[in-house]
C-alpha cells in the first residue's frame, strides 16, 4: 500500500475522490503531479505536451477512481501506466513515426551511473529495480527501455536500431527475463 507521511493511503484517497471529497483529490494531485509529470516529460520531451498528458492522466484517474481495483496492482503503477500510455499516444499523434529518444530520462536510465537526486530519494525497491536495469547488457537495457517506457514494438526497435527483427525480439525477451530473475517480484513496487 502506498501512503504518504500524513498516513492516508493512495487507495483511501481514491475512495474519497470517488465520493466527492475535495481534499482527497487535492492531496492526490499534489502527491502525484511530480511523478506523473516527470514520466510524461521524460517520454514526450516537450513541457507543454507533457502538461497536457499529465492533466489528461489526472482526469482519467478522477473519472475512474471509483472503479480502481487494488487487487490488480498499486495505485502508483496504475497512475503511471495511464500516464505512460497517454504519453505514447501523444508522441504517435504528433510525430507519426517514432524517433530516437535522446531525452534526459532515457539517457539517465541508460547510464549505469547513480542518479544524483532521484536515486537518493527513491525507495529501496525502486533503487533495486534501477540497479537490476543497470546490470543488463547495454543493448538489452536499451531495448527494454524503448519498449517499456516508449511503447516501441520489436519491429520499431529493429528499424530504429538497424538490427534484425529477431535480434530486437531477443534483446527485449532476454532483458525482461533477466530483470525478472533479479527483481523481487513480491516486493517490486
Amino acid at each position: 500500500m502506498d501512503s504518504d507521511t500524513d498516513g492516508v493511503s493512495d487507495e483511501a484517497l481514491l475512495s474519497g475522490m470517488a465520493v466527492g471529497d475535495d481534499r482527497s483529490g487535492l492531496t492526490f494531485v499534489r502527491r502525484y503531479q511530480r511523478r506523473l509529470f516527470g514520466l510524461a516529460v521524460g517520454i514526450v520531451g516537450d513541457v507543454g505536451d507533457a502538461e497536457d498528458v499529465t492533466q489528461e492522466a489526472f482526469i482519467r484517474i478522477f473519472r475512474h477512481a471509483q472503479v480502481f481495483d487494488p487487487r490488480r496492482g498499486s495505485v502508483s503503477t496504475w497512475a503511471l501506466t495511464i500516464t505512460r500510455n497517454l504519453a505514447i499516444d501523444s508522441i504517435r499523434v504528433r510525430r507519426g513515426v517514432p524517433t530516437d529518444p535522446e531525452d534526459r530520462v532515457f539517457v539517465e536510465l541508460m547510464s549505469t551511473a547513480r542518479l544524483p537526486d532521484a536515486a537518493a530519494l527513491a525507495s529501496e525497491n525502486v533503487s533495486n529495480i534501477r540497479s537490476a536495469l543497470g546490470e543488463l547488457p547495454v543493448d538489452q537495457r536499451r531495448a527494454v527501455l524503448l519498449a517499456a517506457l516508449y511503447g516501441r514494438t520489436a519491429l520499431q526497435i529493429s528499424e530504429g536500431e538497424g538490427i534484425p527483427l529477431g535480434t530486437a525480439k531477443s534483446r527485449i525477451r532476454l532483458g525482461m527475463a533477466r530483470l525478472r530473475t533479479t527483481i523481487n517480484i513480491e516486493e517490486a513496487l
Binding site: 503531479q33 516527470g38 502538461e51 492533466q55 530520462v105 517499456a148 520489436a154 527483481i183
Partner: protein
C-alpha cells in the same frame, strides 16, 4: 475456465508475445490468441503476471519533475469541464462537485496567477473575493500570493525562485502594522506552493514576505489597500 493444462513445450512459442503483452506492445488478433492460451495455461499466466510486474517497475524509474506554475488551476478547470457534460448519475454529480470543490481549494490559490498571465481570463466565480499580489525578489517576479476572504479566510502562495531550498517562514503584514507569522513550508529548488487559513480578516492583509531560517527576506509582496 478450462481445467485443461497446456503442454509446456507448446508454451515456448508464446514467450516473446507474453513479454510484448506485458510491455503493452502487442495488439490485435495475436494478442487475443496469446491471452486465450494464457487463460488455459497456469504456467503462462504466472509468467505474464511476473513480466507485467517487471514492465510496471520500469515506469517507477522516471525522475520526478515539477510541472509548470499554474498546473493545478489548469487541471482544476479541465476537471470541471470534463465533469460538466457527464452529470448523468449520482456518482457523476458527486465527481463534478469534487472537481468544483477542487477549484475552490486550488482556484483561489493559482487562479489569479493564470489570470495575470492571460487577459482573457475566465476565472471561476469562486475567485471573486480574491486579492492577489506579486511576490518579488531583487526586482524579479518569483511568484504570487493570494488572499481569499471567506469563512474561513485563506491565503495561498506559489513561488519559483530557482535559487533556494529549505524551510521558509511566511509572515503577513496587516493594516495596523502588526506582523503575523502564519507558518512555514518547504521550497525545493526554489519552487513551492503552500496555503493556510488566516486568523486575521483578509481585508487587513497589506503584504506578505518569505523569510529563510537565517532571517533573510527571500521575497515579498504588497497588497493594495
Amino acid at each position: 475456465m478450462s481445467e485443461h493444462i497446456e503442454d509446456p513445450t507448446s508454451c515456448e512459442e508464446f514467450q516473446e508475445d507474453l513479454t510484448a503483452i506485458a510491455l503493452g506492445t502487442l495488439s490485435g488478433r495475436r494478442r487475443s490468441e496469446v491471452l486465450s492460451h494464457v487463460e488455459s495455461c497456469p504456467q503462462c499466466a504466472i509468467e505474464l503476471e511476473q513480466l507485467s510486474v517487471v514492465a510496471d517497475a520500469v515506469l517507477h524509474l522516471a525522475p520526478e519533475e515539477d510541472p509548470p506554475i499554474g498546473f493545478e488551476l489548469r487541471l482544476a478547470r479541465r476537471l470541471q469541464a470534463d465533469a460538466a457534460p457527464r452529470q448523468t448519475n449520482r456518482f457523476r454529480r458527486v465527481s463534478y462537485l469534487a472537481a468544483a470543490a477542487l477549484i475552490v481549494v486550488i482556484g483561489f490559490g493559482v487562479g489569479a496567477l493564470v489570470g495575470s498571465q492571460n487577459t482573457n481570463n475566465t476565472s471561476p466565480s469562486t475567485t471573486a473575493n480574491l486579492a492577489s499580489a506579486t511576490l518579488s525578489s531583487h526586482g524579479q517576479n518569483v511568484g504570487e500570493v493570494f488572499v481569499s476572504a471567506g469563512t474561513p479566510s485563506w491565503m495561498f502562495m506559489t513561488i519559483d525562485s530557482h535559487s533556494w531550498s529549505g524551510l521558509v517562514t511566511c509572515e503577513l503584514i496587516l493594516a495596523n502594522g502588526k506582523v503575523e507569522n502564519i507558518g512555514q513550508f518547504g521550497l525545493s529548488g526554489g519552487y513551492g506552493s503552500w496555503g493556510a487559513p488566516l486568523t486575521s480578516p483578509a481585508g487587513q492583509v497589506r503584504g506578505a514576505r518569505l523569510i529563510t531560517a537565517s532571517g533573510v527576506v527571500l521575497a515579498r509582496a504588497s497588497f493594495r489597500a
